[in-house]
Symmetry: C2
Subunit: 93 residues, 2 copies
DNA sequence: AATATAGGCAAGCAGGGGCTTGCATGTCAA
DNA sequence: TTGACATGCAAGCCCCTGCTTGCCTATATT
């Protein structure tokens, strides 16, 4: 639970989630490429790999390995608990 | 927007939000007391004050000063954008 | 077999964030 | 007015985190 909040605290990781929402099943190099193209993020492959580890640990990304490739998908379930924790309307309690 | 994610990344700040949702209009010392009582958080007054600054900057807390006292309320509006950014059902795109 | 591709592991660095400490400001009460 | 109370401001410390660098493993390709 704490991992989820920490995971989405980083702007690069949020961009990764955006990418995976738009197109699931991407590999590490594909993600790196799209982050450069569409978000101007020029971090190294290892940096993105570490971000994916964090996202996987939080359950926000699920991965499947096939041969030498690893494909990643977005998973929004862990976000549900966050949405239900605090009221999002304008009330001030 | 980035401030909102950063604000809710800290567990102490999330506890403060929980407290203010449960009871609005609390002062700094009241919040400190309740954090100790109900969450076991023994941070100093200044630490909590700095947390409140972050929450205010993110728009998650609104404050009103009256005399020497400052009262705080929770405001959930900034959270709406987060909820709408990513899908929260089980789909994997 | 040799090379290239996709990814993993680990150490090290630098910056930021949370916390503390100490002092200053402003307001209310006696 | 004097003192107590509620808060603000600023400097410093320490740890965590994001990033890089370098090397290693494993799977395809030719």
């Amino acid at each position: 639970m704490d991992d989820v909040f920490r995971a989405i605290a980083d702007p690069t990781r949020r961009a990764i989630l955006d990418e995976l929402v738009q197109r699931g099943g991407q590999t590490l190099f594909e993600i790196c490429g799209r982050l450069v193209m569409k978000h101007g993020i020029r971090s190294s492959r290892q940096a993105i790999s570490q971000h994916l580890e964090v996202l996987e640990a939080a359950g926000l990304v699920v991965a499947k390995k096939e041969g030498r490739c690893k494909f990643h998908w977005f998973n929004g379930k862990p976000l549900k608990a966050i949405l239900e924790r605090w009221p999002t309307d304008g009330r001030r309690s």
